[in-house]
Amino acid sequence: MGSRSSHAARIPDVDSIQRETGFSQASLLRLYHRFRALDRNDKGYLSRVDLQQIGALAVNPLGDRIIDSFFPDGSLQLDFPGFVRVLARFRPVDDGDHGNRDPKEPEPLNSRMNKLRFAFQLYDLDRDGKISRHEMLQVLRLMVGVQVTEEQLESIADRTVQEADEDGDGAVSFLEFAKSLEKMNIEQKMSIRFLK
């Protein structure tokens, strides 16, 4: 029996994580419990298999790509700070941030740009900063499975790349991607409402 703060203290580096991600202590505590619950064999970190066993994620057509975003650069172990860092991108944007943000400080993880970067990474598998037609096709194929023919898919991919591509290099760079979505309410579509 201890007081609540001693529970939060169980999380290593909780203060720096809080500053980096902007989650409240209560949310961090709940996410820590979730992290521990997903860690089936109490390893202290998550592996790909732990995430793949979530039923609702395994049936998601982009499930594998989402799992990839948690394991950048080919790493095989996901620790709690890494886990929370990715989730922080889906935090709703705080209105207070825009006014008094220090320009020297790094952009908060849940800014519009960072949300867009997350989505961009789902397409850009080889991390070259551009979505090629081939990469577009791959993502489309993931989302439709075997339901659509190759020709239909190619025409959709061609059309999409053409519409977004401004400098005519046949691929969609991050800036072109952001521009084509400037009217979209990213803040709402890429945010998960964390309860206090």
């Binding site: 029996m1 201890g2 007081s3 609540r4 529970h7 949310s27 709940r30 996410l31 979730r34 619950a37 997903l38 089936r40 995430l51 793949q52 066993q53 979530i54 039923g55 609702a56 994620l57 395994a58 049936v59 998601n60 057509p61 982009l62 499930g63 989402i66 990715v86 989730l87 889906f90 997350f118 989505a119 789902l122 397409y123 993502v139 489309l140 989302m143 439709v144 499975g145 075997v146 339901q147 659509v148 239909q152 959709i156 999409t160 977004a164 969609v172 991607f177 084509s180 979505l181 009217k183 979209m184 990213i186 579509k189 890429m190 945010s191 998960i192 409402r193 964390f194 309860l195 206090k196």
Partner: protein, 438 residues
């Protein structure tokens, strides 16, 4: 010498007390009211503790208890609404947003993983193991807690272990003896008596308080009894009120001895591990069993694994293909007094039993439900779902379409294909679909 004599005397008095107050009444199905008294005191103590905790908490900021409130607020809009973008309904770069949001939501909170860990309590029940979020309140509460620990570990645990030991030995010896008799109605009656007595003893060993509802729907001979599964104790709870034929794999060790003894006295259906894989063989043997109207009803748990008693997961269709009348039974434990859920990946059988025996008590409700049969034009899966819904509604549990086997295995690809189909229809579907949405 004196020490040994004293110890001998203590054990002797102890055993006589146990015999007089617990064993004999169990044999006759009579209750002396000791358990009821214990439960009353327990309930009063826990209520007092709850009040103290609430008083203590209200002094500071109100902490929303994490049990009832989830981590995130989900947007349950269907795919069509979630994906409608700026233009008509062709593929857009932003479509990934919907899937990635859903994926991240699943990572933070999903319906299934939480069912494989014990239910969180609304208010602390003075057991250390459930003290997840609760604070230190006052010295009085701590004292009560310490007293509780002493009572549970030093008084109740030895008593329960003794009873369990006696119960199991009696079962093995009794069934072996009864098994020697030739087939007759006397044998059946004696075997019932032995089973019931031993089960009652074992239930006392867990300080179990069971309320049976709708006893008029108790499963009849030649039928199949179907229930939701939370722990091995489910079997004990059901057999205290009636005799069933069990179905299961032959185990080794203590379980194996019990199984072999039981099958001598009355026909249970035990399978070798290799036979379990052959579904036709299993179905055939079960069909033969229920065809004989004199044999006891079969007891089956169609979920196939232990779930934490907050929900009912997919019922495997095998049991519903056999035919015959299904008698559904809903079992709901009260988590305030003790957690009955067996998390087999976390605890083995022995540590699980120890945890159960050091809880306050096992309190549960059992509802017998009117029998159901497969209707015309209904296949086994639909029938299984119908029974599942009925049990979920009766027991106050939520219903999930997921397979309990997800505890160990990955989900089937057919579910992913369904999502892909829905999405494909949207982006490649005919013009009429677009105009409907606009």
């Amino acid at each position: 010498m004196d020490g040994a004599e004293l110890a001998g005397k203590i054990v002797y008095t102890w055993l006589t007390l146990v015999l007089g107050f617990i064993l004999l009444p169990s044999a006759f199905g009579v209750s002396l009211g000791i358990s009821e008294l214990y439960m009353k005191i327990l309930v009063k103590t826990l209520e007092w503790a709850t009040l103290r905790i609430e008083k203590g908490v209200s002094k500071e900021s109100v902490l929303k208890n994490s049990a009832s409130v989830g981590i995130i607020q989900r947007d349950e809009s269907p795919m069509e609404k979630g994906l409608s973008g700026l233009r008509g309904r062709d593929f857009e770069l932003s479509d990934v947003f919907y899937f990635s949001k859903k994926g991240l939501e699943a990572i933070v909170e999903d319906e299934v993983t939480q069912r494989f860990s014990s239910e969180e309590l609304v208010s602390w029940n003075l057991l250390t193991r459930t003290n997840v979020n609760f604070q230190y309140i006052s010295p009085k509460l701590t004292m009560v807690w310490v007293l509780g620990v002493i009572v549970r570990y030093c008084v109740l645990l030895p008593l329960r272990v003794t009873l369990a030991f006696i119960g199991i030995s009696f079962l093995v010896i009794g069934t072996t003896l009864v098994g020697q008799l030739p087939e007759s109605s006397l044998k059946n009656r004696l075997s019932e008596l032995v089973h019931l007595t031993c089960c009652r003893i074992c239930v006392r060993a867990l300080s179990g308080t069971i309320h049976y509802h709708n006893k008029q729907y108790r499963p009849q001979k030649g039928g199949i009894c179907v229930a939701n599964h939370t722990s091995p104790i489910d079997v004990l709870i059901l057999t205290t009120d009636g005799c069933y034929a069990m179905v299961g794999q032959v185990h080794g060790g203590l379980m194996g001895i019990i199984q072999r003894a039981m099958v001598k006295a009355c026909p249970h259906v035990w399978f070798e591990r290799s036979e379990m894989k052959d579904r036709h063989l299993v179905t055939k043997r079960l069909r033969e069993h229920i065809a004989d109207k004199k044999k006891l009803p079969i007891l089956i748990f169609p979920e196939g694994t232990c779930i934490n008693n907050t929900s009912v997961m997919m019922f495997k269709k095998g049991s519903f293909e056999i035919g015959g009348t299904i008698y559904p039974v809903a079992i709901k434990y009260n988590p305030q007094f003790g957690d009955a859920f067996w998390n087999s990946s976390k605890y083995n059988m022995v540590s699980y039993l120890l945890r159960v025996m050091t809880s306050w008590a096992i309190v549960c409700d059992v509802w017998y439900m009117p029998p159901m049969t497969r209707e015309e034009g209904e296949d086994a899966v639909q029938f299984a779902n119908r029974v599942k819904s009925a049990i979920a509604i009766q027991g106050g549990l939520t219903e999930l379409p997921w397979d309990g086997g997800l505890k160990r295995a990955k989900v089937k690809d057919t579910f992913k294909e369904q999502q892909q189909k829905n999405y494909s229809k949207m982006i490649v579907g005919n013009g009429s679909l677009n105009s409907e949405l606009d």
